[in-house]
C-alpha cells in the first residue's frame, strides 16, 4: 500500500466514524441518509457496469453476463431506494442484510487470498466473520425485542469496527517479505 492509498484508507475511516455519529445523534434521519447513500452507490455501480458492457464487454465471449449483472444491480438499487420511505425497522433490516452480505464477501475473498498465498487473508477472514456474526446476532435481538434502537446501535458498532480496520490498514506495514 502506498502513501496515497494509506491517506484514502484513513479518510474512509474518518468518514465511517462520522456516519456512526450522525446515526447516533439523529437516529431517524441518519438512517434514511445512509440508506439513500447505499442505494445511490448501487445505482452508480449498475450504470458503471452498463457502461463497461457497451464500451468493452460486448466484444467479449460471455460478455452478456456483465449486462445481466448491471440490470440486477440497478434493480437492487431501485428496490433499496423504495425502502427509504418505508418504516425504519425495514430499512435497518435491509442495511444489516447488506452488511452481512459484505461480511460474507470478505470471507470468500479471504479464502481466495489464502489460496493465492497472500498473508492478509487472516485479517480479512476474521473481519468477515465478526461482521456476519454481529449482524445475525443484532437481527435476532431486534426481532425478539422488537427494538429498532438496538439494531441502530449494533449497526453503529459495525461502522466503528470498519473504521478501525481502515485506520489499521492506513498504518499497517505492507512491505514484501523476502523468503530465502
Amino acid at each position: 500500500m502506498n502513501s496515497f492509498q494509506r491517506i484514502i484508507s484513513f479518510f474512509k475511516g474518518i468518514g465511517l466514524v462520522l456516519f456512526a455519529l450522525i446515526l447516533l445523534e439523529y437516529p431517524k434521519d441518519g438512517i434514511i441518509i445512509v440508506a439513500a447513500i447505499i442505494s445511490l452507490s448501487l445505482l452508480l455501480y449498475g450504470f458503471r457496469l452498463l457502461w463497461y458492457y457497451t464500451r468493452m464487454a460486448r466484444h467479449m465471449v460471455g460478455g452478456k453476463s456483465i449486462l445481466f449483472q448491471s440490470i440486477i444491480f440497478l434493480d437492487v438499487a431501485i428496490f433499496s431506494a423504495s425502502l427509504i420511505t418505508e418504516s425504519q425497522f425495514w430499512v435497518m433490516i435491509y442495511l444489516l442484510g447488506v452488511y452481512a452480505f459484505s461480511g460474507a464477501i470478505d470471507i470468500l475473498r479471504a479464502f481466495e487470498a489464502k489460496k493465492n498465498g497472500a498473508p492478509s487473508w487472516k485479517m480479512k477472514f476474521s473481519g468477515g466473520c465478526i461482521r456476519v456474526a454481529a449482524t445475525i446476532a443484532l437481527f435476532v435481538i431486534g426481532i425478539i425485542f422488537r427494538e429498532t434502537t438496538v439494531l441502530l446501535y449494533g449497526y453503529c458498532i459495525n461502522l466503528g469496527y470498519a473504521a478501525v480496520m481502515h485506520f489499521i490498514n492506513a498504518f499497517r506495514r505492507t512491505a514484501i517479505v523476502y523468503i530465502q
Binding site: 500500500m1 502506498n2 492509498q5 463497461y52 464500451r55 468493452m56 464487454a57 466484444h59 467479449m60 465471449v61 460471455g62 460478455g63 456483465i66 449483472q69 481466495e112 487470498a113 489460496k115 493465492n116 498465498g117 497472500a118 505492507t174 514484501i176 523476502y178
Partner: protein
C-alpha cells in the same frame, strides 16, 4: 515457458548457433534471469527498480490497478513476456478506443516489435541476447494473451479442452481448472490451476495467461479454447509445434546476433542446424512432463560436451553487491539491468508511438531532453560514455 526452455533450451540453441559453452551459459542464464529479476530482488541489491522484468505473486497482489499502476504492470509484462503482435491491429467488429488499445497489446509471434527486439540486442552484451531470446520464445508460448490486466482480452471460459492422443486417435478432454496454487498440475487428469474469475476489467487475475493457467508454459500440451477477444471463434494451440518454431527461430536469431547471418527477418527459422538433433528435440517437446530440464540439460551436454549448472542467483547477487559503484555495470547483473532497461524503454516507446498510453509515456530525448523515471538515466550515461548506441 519455464526454466527448462528459457535456460536450458536457450543454451542448446546458442551452442547450435556457434557460441562457446561459456557464452551460451551467459545467454541461457540471462534468458532465465528475466523470470527472476523482481523489484524485491532489485531493492535488496539497491539496484534500479525500473529494471524489474517480472513481478512476484505477492508484488502483484499488492500492486495498484489505477492508471499509474497499470502502466507499470504493462511495461513489465508487455516488454518481456507478452510482446504485442501488432500495435496497429484493427478488430473485425467496430469497438471503442479503450477496447482497441487493449486489443492491440495481444501477443503474437513474428511481429515488427520482435525484429526490433532482436536487432536492439545486436552488438551488445550477451545478456542482451539472453533477454531477446526470452522475449522471442515467449511470443510463441504466450500467443493470444496480452501483457496487461484485461478481462475482455485475457478471460477464458468453460469451453477449454485438452487434445490428447488416445487409442482411437486424437481425443478431446475437458480441462478441469482449479484455483489452488499449492496443488500441482496433473496432466494425466487434465487438471490445471488457473486464476479465479474476477468481475473487474483491470483485475490482476486477468493478467496475461492467468485465466488459462500454466497450459501455455508446458511444451507438450495441445488445447483448444475460446479466447475472450476472438468473437466465439475457437483457437487450437499446438505447443510442441510452436515450441519447435521458437527453438529454430532462436537459433536463427542467435546466428544473426553472433554475426553469422547479416540480417534478421521475421518468419525465418533455422531448421538446418537442428537437423542432427531434431528427433531428440521432438521427443522432449512431446513428452508429458511438467519440467523437462533434465532432458534439455542432457541434450546440451551432448551438443557442447559440458554440463550446464543451475543458475546461481546468490553468486550473481553477491558479485553485484561486492562490485565498486563504477564497476557494477560490468557485472553479470549490471549488464542484465542495462539490457532490461533498454528493452523496456524500446517497447514502451513503440507502444507510446502507436498512440497507446497503456504502457505509459515515452519522451524523445532529442526533442525534450531527459525527463521522467530517473533509473533510465543509466542508459543515457552509457550512451554518453560511448559504450552503448
Amino acid at each position: 515457458m519455464n526454466k527448462d526452455f528459457h535456460c536450458y533450451a536457450t543454451y542448446c540453441a546458442a551452442i547450435l548457433a556457434g557460441y562457446s559453452h561459456e557464452e551460451s551459459a551467459v545467454i541461457g542464464y540471462s534468458s532465465q534471469m528475466v523470470d527472476l529479476c523482481t523489484r524485491t530482488m532489485l531493492s535488496k541489491l539497491h539496484a534500479p527498480q525500473s529494471a524489474a522484468t517480472t513481478q512476484l505473486q505477492l508484488e502483484l497482489m499488492d500492486a495498484r490497478t489505477d492508471i499509474i499502476g497499470l502502466q507499470d504492470i504493462t511495461r513489465i509484462w508487455a516488454s518481456f513476456h507478452f510482446l504485442p503482435g501488432d500495435l496497429y491491429a484493427v478488430p473485425e467488429q467496430k469497438c471503442s478506443k479503450k477496447y482497441l488499445k487493449k486489443y492491440r497489446l495481444i501477443c503474437k509471434p513474428n511481429s515488427e516489435l520482435l525484429e526490433k527486439t532482436v536487432r536492439r540486442a545486436k552488438g551488445k552484451n550477451l545478456q542482451d541476447a539472453g533477454i531477446a531470446m526470452h522475449v522471442l520464445a515467449d511470443t510463441w508460448a504466450h500467443s493470444y494473451f496480452a501483457g496487461t490486466p484485461s478481462l475482455v482480452i485475457n478471460n477464458t471460459n468453460y469451453h477449454f479442452f485438452e487434445l490428447i492422443q488416445g487409442e482411437n486417435g486424437e481425443e478431446e478432454r475437458k480441462v478441469n481448472f482449479r484455483h489452488s496454487p499449492s496443488s500441482p498440475d496433473e496432466p494425466e487428469k487434465s487438471a490445471y490451476t488457473n486464476t479465479v474469475y474476477y468481475n473487474n476489467e483491470n483485475s490482476i487475475m486477468s493478467l496475461g495467461h492467468g485465466r488459462a493457467g500454466h497450459l501455455p508454459d508446458y511444451c507438450f500440451v495441445r488445447y483448444k479454447y475460446l479466447p475472450a477477444w476472438g468473437n466465439y471463434e475457437e483457437i487450437i494451440k499446438d505447443n510442441p509445434s510452436d515450441y519447435l518454431c521458437a527453438f529454430t527461430q532462436m537459433v536463427y536469431a542467435l546466428k544473426y546476433l553472433r554475426g553469422t547471418i547479416p540480417e534478421f527477418e521475421k518468419g525465418h527459422y533455422d531448421t538446418e542446424s537442428i537437423e542432427p538433433v531434431k528427433d531428440e528435440i521432438q521427443r522432449i517437446l512431446h513428452t508429458v512432463q511438467l519440467d523437462s530440464t533434465k532432458d534439455w540439460r542432457e541434450l546440451g551436454k551432448k551438443l557442447s560436451g559440458h554440463e550446464l549448472e543451475e543458475i546461481d542467483v546468490e553468486a550473481i547477487e553477491k558479485e553485484y553487491l561486492d562490485a565498486d559503484a563504477d564497476e557494477k555495470d560490468d557485472t553479470f547483473l549490471g549488464r542484465f539491468i542495462i539490457g532490461a532497461l533498454a528493452q523496456k524503454s524500446m517497447v514502451t516507446n513503440q507502444i507510446f508511438q502507436s498512440g497507446n498510453r497503456l504502457a505509459g509515456y515515452s519522451i524523445e530525448l532529442g526533442s525534450k531532453g531527459f525527463k521522467g523515471i530517473r533509473d533510465f538515466k543509466k542508459l543515457l550515461k552509457r550512451r554518453e560514455a560511448g559504450s552503448d548506441e
